[in-house]
């Protein structure tokens, strides 16, 4: 860690502008995909990222976006490392991130202790009307991160960012 806290905070703010390519209401920091931002004594910037799903097709794109953002803001000495060392789970999504998902019409995932059971996908709170009278349609949505549900109260289909 470095003493230059204001500079580190600035980098954090800059990177907070990089949003999820599919969900523009959540930043990669709030999604928990950026797991570490560090500034070395010599000004070297180290960013660590981890994919939501191993086969996430957007990972390369997200890494590139982070690199471009740093470039645009005048940083040239940096390294963006994609690793599974700190594996992503939906518990990594911040409170602000959960709000961002809701804004996009996605039900945020429940907090997980450990084991995912079928039950956790039943009666998900509807992001439109907040009813719990909902039903799981399939644990596989249009992207790997999402499950599909139906709300009996407002009669609308919705998606959940599924717990992992």
């Amino acid at each position: 860690m470095v003493e230059d806290q204001p500079q580190l905070a600035r980098i954090r703010d800059i990177l907070d502008e990089v949003k999820d390519p599919e969900i523009p209401t959540i930043s990669l920091i709030d999604l928990g995909v950026i797991t570490e931002i560090d500034l070395k004594e010599n000004g070297h910037v180290y960013v660590e990222m981890t994919p939501t799903f191993v086969g996430c097709p957007a990972m390369d794109y997200m890494k590139k976006s982070v690199e471009e953002k740093l470039n645009e803001n005048g940083f040239s000495d940096f390294f963006v490392n994609v690793t599974l060392e700190k594996a992503w789970t939906t518990n990594n999504i911040t409170e602000k991130g959960r709000e961002g998902l809701k804004k996009h019409g996605l039900a945020p995932p429940p907090h997980l202790e450990k084991i995912v059971d079928i039950d956790i996908l039943e009666n998900v709170t509807c992001p439109y009307c907040n009813s719990d009278d909902t039903e799981l349609q399939t644990p596989f949505g249009p992207t790997l991160c999402r499950s599909m549900h139906f709300c009996h109260n407002c009669k609308q289909a919705f998606e959940q960012f599924k717990p992992l």
Binding site: F53, T89, I118, P139, T143
Partner: protein
């Protein structure tokens, strides 16, 4: 640690995931109902992603780049079990294959969570969380259809009888079995098969299907040693065709 044993293990796992992934992606647009279409496509995408993760570890151990490994080898250089290379057939065939394969896949990654090969252990922890949804899917549909109409049950039973000996081929032992176990890389095919069978039986007991599996069934082996059916090479040709015609295609 001699890498040869780990390399053999990684290849068979990666090839299994790559081939079943490509097979099941054939359901896109033709599934019996839209939800199932999406599910099979989504799981296929997961599987191909998992194979990529494994090929990357192989690359770190000195093997070629993932896309070279995936798209330029011939059938006899693949180590997938034969079960995964068969055409998708009818829905009941694909569902039973998915059920039998994914429980084995799940338990394999579960056993690898504590592998002495650190990169593999990390990947396994991540992948296990994803495959939970695959077995959840398999279990749900086995339960639904396995308790539904006589026709559905009959079809499932027939596919189960066909696929069970094929599934036993998943556990074909490698020449490095003892070494993998003593090095702490992997607990071995025998231990895996035991865990798998327990899970399979637990699900079958929730259905009206026959609960006694043929203990005398002879496993369909050879795949781990590069022996394959005539179904594999055309699939590989098709896969590399897509890559050749569109070099930017994302896999």
């Amino acid at each position: 640690m001699d890498n040869q044993a780990a390399i053999e293990l990684l290849y068979k796992m990666a090839d299994d995931d790559l081939i079943i992934g490509h097979r099941n992606s054939e359901w896109t647009g033709v599934g019996p109902i839209l939800e199932e279409d999406i599910s099979f496509s989504s799981m296929a995408q997961d599987k191909i992603g998992h194979s990529w993760g494994l090929y990357k570890i192989l690359h770190q151990l000195g093997e070629s780049e993932p896309d070279l490994v995936a798209f330029t080898r011939n059938a006899e250089q693949f180590h997938n079990c034969q079960m995964v290379e068969f055409p998708i057939g009818e829905y009941d065939f694909s569902l039973i294959r998915h059920f039998l394969f994914d429980y084995a896949d799940y338990h394999r990654f579960e056993m690898l969570e504590n592998s002495s090969l650190t990169g593999l252990a990390q990947l396994a922890r991540k992948i296990k969380g994803e495959i939970k949804y695959h077995i959840l899917h398999a279990r749900t549909w086995m339960k639904n259809l396995g308790n539904s109409t006589d026709e559905a049950k009959e079809r499932l039973q027939r596919s189960l009888d066909t696929l069970y000996p094929m599934a036993l081929g998943i556990f074909e032992k490698s020449p490095y079995e003892d070494q993998l176990i003593s090095d702490g890389v992997f607990g071995g095919e025998e231990a895996l098969q035991t865990r798998w069978l327990d899970s399979i039986m637990e699900v079958l007991r929730l259905t009206d299907l026959n609960h006694t599996l043929d203990s005398a069934a002879s496993p369909l082996i050879g795949g781990r040693m590069g022996k394959h059916t005539d179904h594999l090479q055309p699939l590989l040709d098709e896969m590399s065709e897509v890559v050749r015609t569109d070099p930017t295609a994302e896999w």
